[in-house]
């Protein structure tokens, strides 16, 4: 069982606002999947290493340097942001003044 409170907690962790009327829906939904995946516990994985993917033969490196960005691209990049000021992205403060 996953409690309604747990769903609210994961929603907050996920930075998703849920309408209170939808909480029951997500509770049932996530519970169904958890019930389904639960069966993996019967697999013996003692001494098995987690999957690491394919070997990457060589790294790709580039110089750590400031590159001049084309003005038009810069403008478009900034214009993609919902809120801007003086050629910068604008956002709310992370810390609050008390």
């Amino acid at each position: 069982m996953i409690s309604k409170q747990k769903i609210k907690d994961i929603a907050k962790l996920s930075r998703i606002k849920l309408d209170s009327k939808d909480i029951g829906f997500y509770q049932k939904r996530i519970e169904k999947i958890i019930d389904y995946i639960e069966e993996i516990k019967e697999v013996n994985t003692k001494g098995v290493a987690p999957y690491k993917g394919k070997k990457i033969k060589s790294n790709i490196l580039r110089k750590d340097e400031v590159k001049k960005l084309d003005k038009v691209i810069r403008k478009k990049l900034i214009n993609n942001a919902p809120d801007q000021k003086d050629n910068f992205l604008k956002t709310k403060p992370i810390f609050k003044n008390k």
Binding site: S14, I16, D19, Y36, I37, A49, N80
Partner: protein
């Protein structure tokens, strides 16, 4: 010209022989789109003017074809970036987002001279198996418009079946190229992980995602793959790839050994099971050898997938925060901006996967679910390595346990919907190449045969499929 008879190779020959102009070709496809697109809903955007302009420029230059893809009308799934064009991933959160650069695969197709007709509809952020979770409405299956086209690359698959384009690119995380291709009766290939650069693909689950071709023949899959593959310095996971030779050389049936998994979860569709068995016995009579193989951990593949995939989705989709691009719900507090934007911008399926992902990654559950699933993944990979050691050329499977179902039939039945992926996820979990091509129809609806090959043996499974196709 009858566009229903065309594929890449035939069109190339016809353009070479001056049977029609580039402009005529593009116009024919646009006409076909005009006629049926309102009903099918395969596209999120169509580049009508640009496509015609490109075609006219090619005509002006004379008929000097620079590659076999020159002038070929194609469709891209709308999670692949094309410079200065909208790229939505089927989501409200990116509804007005314009890409600032080309995906590497787009650069390659442009260089080859292909004409991009538009961007294909898709399940939101590639999360879906029916083509119904797009915020732009569901795509319909051109074979029978009461049915779903499959997902998540629903637009490209439907577009090919409806004669809206000659080829397409999709992305496949758990079957998103192969399942819709099978439902719509076309061809699809999920290349080996690393074979095709994913720079410029909107990521869903990075350890599983792969861009791949969708087309109207096996030859065309090989052609498309040969153009888009290879190491790309903009994608660290991309790998150097051996050349793909086309036309594909069919093999001697006597040289083909295919594996059939012993403990495969059988489809509930009896007709599908019957057809599959008939196909096997028919191919046996023609000389192909079938070997029952043991893959003891295969039955856990879909479970492991439904842990790893949402975990990676939750991480990848964290970037959609309403600050740098896309939808923004303006609020006083930063946390509220995040929560409101994501609450309004994401659809139900995407939200459920993000939340599930954060759940399996959270403290106390990480070892139990995520780490355990990654260990099972290692075991599945070992199972596959063992069967290829026995000389098997590929694993022979149906593409899906279902045929195209009714629109809205599986909504509200998440497990049933997820089961659509049961035969396709093993290739994503292991990074192996897998393709689908049409078998006989059942009740007028297409079915698919899937072959999963050894790592980087993409050409090998294409050749095997070509042989099989000539025998069925």
């Amino acid at each position: 010209m009858n566009i229903k008879d065309l594929n890449i190779l035939k069109t190339h020959q016809a353009l070479k022989n001056k049977e029609f102009s580039f402009e005529n070709l593009v116009k024919e496809f646009l006409k076909s789109i005009d006629k049926k697109e309102t009903e099918i809903n395969a596209f999120i955007s169509i580049f009508k003017k640009q496509a015609l302009k490109q075609a006219r420029e090619k005509d002006k230059k004379g008929y000097k074809l620079k590659s076999v893809l020159d002038g070929i009308p194609i469709i891209l799934k709308d999670n692949i970036l094309v410079k200065n064009k909208k790229c939505t991933a089927g989501s409200k959160i990116l509804k007005n987002y314009k890409a600032l650069y080309n995906a590497s695969v787009v650069e390659k197709l442009n260089k080859a001279g292909a004409i991009i007709l538009g961007k294909g509809n898709m399940d939101e952020f590639a999360c879906g198996a029916s083509g119904e979770t797009s915020c732009f409405g569901p795509t319909k299956n051109p074979v029978n418009t009461k049915k779903v086209p499959g997902g998540s690359s629903s637009g490209p698959a439907a577009a090919l079946a409806a004669n809206f384009a000659l080829a397409g690119l999709g992305s496949d995380t758990g079957g998103s190229i192969r399942e819709p291709a099978s439902f719509c009766g076309v061809y699809g290939l999920k290349p080996s992980y690393g074979r095709v650069s994913r720079y410029g693909l909107i990521a869903m689950a990075s350890s599983l995602d792969q861009i791949g071709p969708m087309a109207l023949s096996l030859e065309d899959l090989a052609i498309m793959l040969s153009f888009i593959q290879g190491r790309d310095k903009k994608d660290l996971t991309s790998l150097k790839s051996n050349k793909i030779n086309y036309p594909l050389k069919a093999k001697d049936p006597k040289d083909i050994i295919l594996g059939i998994p012993k403990n495969l979860v059988e489809s509930k569709n009896k007709e599908l099971v019957k057809l599959f068995k008939e196909t096997i016995s028919n191919l046996q009579k023609k000389g192909i050898k079938f070997l029952k193989v043991e893959l003891p951990h295969l039955k856990y593949a879909l479970r492991a997938y439904n842990i790893i995939m949402p975990a990676e989705v939750s991480a990848n989709l964290a970037r959609f925060d309403g600050i740098r691009y896309g939808l923004c719900e303006k609020k006083k507090d930063l946390l509220d901006i995040y929560k409101e934007t994501r609450g309004k911008g994401f659809g139900q399926e995407v939200k459920a996967r993000i939340m599930l992902g954060n759940y399996v990654l959270s403290q106390g559950f990480y070892n139990k679910y995520y780490l355990k699933a990654q260990k099972i993944r290692t075991l599945i990979k070992q199972d596959f390595a063992n069967i290829f050691k026995k000389g098997v050329n590929g694993l022979f499977l149906p593409t899906t346990p279902k045929i195209a179902f009714n629109l809205r039939e599986k909504i509200g039945k998440p497990i049933d919907m997820y089961l659509s992926d049961i035969y396709t996820v093993p290739a994503n979990l292991t990074g192996l190449p897998a393709l689908t091509f049409p078998n006989k129809n059942i009740n007028g609806l297409p079915t698919g045969i899937q072959i999963i090959g050894d790592d980087f043996d993409d050409e090998g499974i294409l050749k095997t499929a070509k042989t099989i196709e000539s025998l069925i």
